[in-house]
């Protein structure tokens, strides 16, 4: 990693350059202009409903009648709800397995699909295709067929004399099929990695090539460090996204989080509370607990990033 340290030093040296400070004068005004649409969106569209949901979390609100203030009741109920605890367990398991595995798959394929082979655009398109399907109902049916008792997976296992089981419908394995489904749709982070690879200036590689650096060394000294901001981005957003996983579990389990609550993700439970049990106040309290959890995870990510993410600015 010594090259990285060097690069980092270069970057730090550049930062200290006097011209940089001069550039920052009067940025406030420019920032106001550039951020104008975002501020408008925040004020007009984002903040209102956010505050409203915060308020609703302190009320008994059944959607159909005006909310009634109940103070902290929803929040105290959170701690007495065994199914909520279970949904947290399911969600954490999912986040800590599906996110890293999917990112690894996406990164590996992005590296393979970046350059140096004929027909790459074709492969990229084909490998991205599953991600196009997203949360379509067709995916649900399909997943149940692939991992069903007479499904493709078991037919394959039977070739080796292994007796399979109903992977989706067994509470022990249902969650893992969803983890697989998540990995299978690695298209989005893969595309972002690909774009990130394209952003690395060719000159670094050329310089390294002149010095006779091999593939592995180029990867470790140039590609990986310069890609860290993108890896970081993917990590942060995938973690935020995975905590809110809903669609895939919803369609695969038919909205039940079953079998026996084994795929009951946090947001799925929240949704059931809000829309089926008409307990939107409780659902809002759940949502803010989730914000707290995700914010802490994100903060940890940002803090840790200081030790491994390298910015070229």
């Amino acid at each position: 990693m010594s090259v990285v340290t060097e690069l980092r030093k270069t970057a730090k040296g550049a930062k200290a350059a006097p011209s940089r400070r001069g550039l920052r004068n009067g940025d406030g005004k420019a920032a106001a202009v550039f951020l104008l649409p975002w501020f408008l969106g925040l004020g007009l569209i984002t903040i209102g409903p956010m505050i409203a949901s915060g308020y609703l979390s302190f009320t008994d609100y059944n959607l159909l009648q005006p909310p009634q203030w109940t103070g902290l009741e929803n929040y105290t109920r959170l701690f007495e709800d065994p199914r909520l605890l279970n949904s947290l367990r399911v969600t954490f398991t999912y986040v800590f397995t599906a996110v890293p595995l999917q990112l690894l798959a996406a990164l590996a394929l992005a590296l393979i699909l970046d350059r140096g082979l004929k027909g790459l655009p074709f492969y990229r398109s084909v490998l991205y295709l599953p991600s196009l399907l997203g949360g379509s109902v067709a995916v649900a049916i399909l997943w149940r067929q692939v991992f069903g008792i007479d499904g493709l997976v078991n037919q394959f296992l039977a070739l080796f004399g292994i007796q399979g089981k109903g992977w989706v419908s067994d509470p022990e394995t249902a969650l893992w099929t969803l983890v697989l489904l998540h990995i299978w749709t690695f298209g989005a982070p893969m595309i972002i990695f690909l774009a990130g690879l394209r952003q690395i200036p060719e000159m670094y590689y050329e310089a390294a090539a002149i010095d006779g650096a091999g593939v592995v060394r180029k990867f470790r000294s140039i590609t990986l460090p310069l890609l860290t901001p993108i890896i970081f981005f993917n990590l942060v957003l995938q973690v935020i996204g995975a905590f809110q996983s809903f669609t895939q579990a919803f369609v695969v389990s038919g909205g039940t989080g079953g079998p026996a609550d084994s795929t009951m993700f946090y947001t799925l439970y929240l949704y059931q509370k809000g829309f089926t049990a008409f307990d939107m106040g409780y659902a809002s309290a759940m949502a803010w607990l989730l914000v707290l959890i995700v914010a802490v995870m994100t903060l940890i990510n940002f803090f840790a990033s200081k030790f491994w993410v390298f910015y070229d600015d």
Partner: protein, 314 residues
């Protein structure tokens, strides 16, 4: 674009050559190991192809299944799960296209309108915000950045009701406005953050040089940042297209009349889990509505690979 080439190339030479020198200096210190493949390149490439083709087959299986099913009569879809259809039956397509109150093209058009509005919004508004967060120094930057990230941490299901009330007050229900205006106002923090990360990857020396040449922030943003982050913009465009096209829940809630329904909302109206569903037509129309997204991806991919490497900066 040509302007960028002329402007940047000379200034660019200074920092890059210095890092290059450092790298080469370091490389000199490193042991002279050469990584050489034991196989000739051609054979290695062939192996790679083989692996990729196998992977493609695995990834494609579901889609092939979907495609094959769309040619089967509904009552055969679940009874006969083989991948080779006994006969190719187009009726699902003709039926699906006309089964609903409006021809399916209507729903595709509605989806397209929302997608176009969202594309415009995300590309312009999010990149502007990203420029501010990546390059401008202003008070409360970190705080606002945190607020931005927080705005995507709340699950949609608790936001949708207050949003509905807000949009109902504005009389926007059953229009495309609740689905487009937020995008025009950069509410999709995912893309802001994405572009911030890419902008930060562009060497600062470039905009400094431009700055010395008398460029304002507007010009730096337009003439340097945007052209140099083509991959990021392409990524944003691709994702905006696909995610907006597939977004079901908010479209379901905000669009009331069938003449405003979008493709995913219309697709659901083929199904009835309590009775008879039209699986065949639903699959057929699923395939039809996949075509625009796939084309969008193919088109966007061209720009995805036009990184810094090909925009004149080396």
């Amino acid at each position: 674009m040509t302007e960028v080439h002329v402007r940047t190339t000379p200034t660019d030479a200074t920092p890059s050559s210095s890092s290059a020198q450092r790298i080469s200096a370091l490389a000199d210190e490193a042991p002279p190991v050469r990584y050489r493949s034991p196989w000739p390149d051609r054979r290695r490439a062939a192996l790679k192809h083989l692996g990729l083709i196998a992977l493609c087959a695995l990834m494609l299986y579901p889609l092939v299944w979907l495609l094959v099913s769309s040619f089967k009569p509904t009552d055969l879809i679940f009874r006969d799960v083989s991948l080779i259809p006994s006969e190719v039956d187009w009726t699902n397509y003709s039926e699906g296209w006309n089964a609903l109150q409006y021809p399916f093209s209507r729903y595709l058009m509605n989806s397209a309108i929302i997608v176009l509005g969202s594309l415009l919004g995300n590309l312009v508004a999010c990149s502007m915000a990203a420029y501010a967060f990546a390059r401008l120094e202003f008070r409360g930057r970190k705080l606002w950045f945190a607020v931005m990230l927080m705005s995507i941490m709340l699950p949609i299901h608790v936001i949708i009701v207050p949003q509905y009330i807000l949009f109902a007050k504005l009389d926007w229900i059953n229009t495309f406005l609740p689905l487009i205006v937020p995008k025009l106002l950069a509410t999709d923090a995912f893309f802001i953050f994405l572009m911030v990360q890419f902008f930060r990857g562009i060497p600062r020396e470039l905009d400094e040089a431009a700055r010395l040449d008398g460029c304002g922030h507007g010009r730096i943003y337009l003439r340097i940042m945007l052209p140099l982050s083509l991959p990021a913009l392409a990524t944003t465009a691709i994702f905006t297209f696909i995610w907006t096209w597939n977004d079901f829940f908010s479209q379901l809630i905000f669009l009331v009349r069938p003449d405003m329904y979008t493709a995913p909302v219309a697709l659901r109206t083929f199904l009835d889990s309590t009775g008879a569903s039209s699986w065949g037509p639903m699959f057929a129309m699923s395939i039809v509505s996949l075509i625009p997204v796939f084309l969008a991806f193919l088109f966007g991919q061209k720009y995805l690979v036009k990184g810094i490497a090909t925009t004149g900066i080396k």
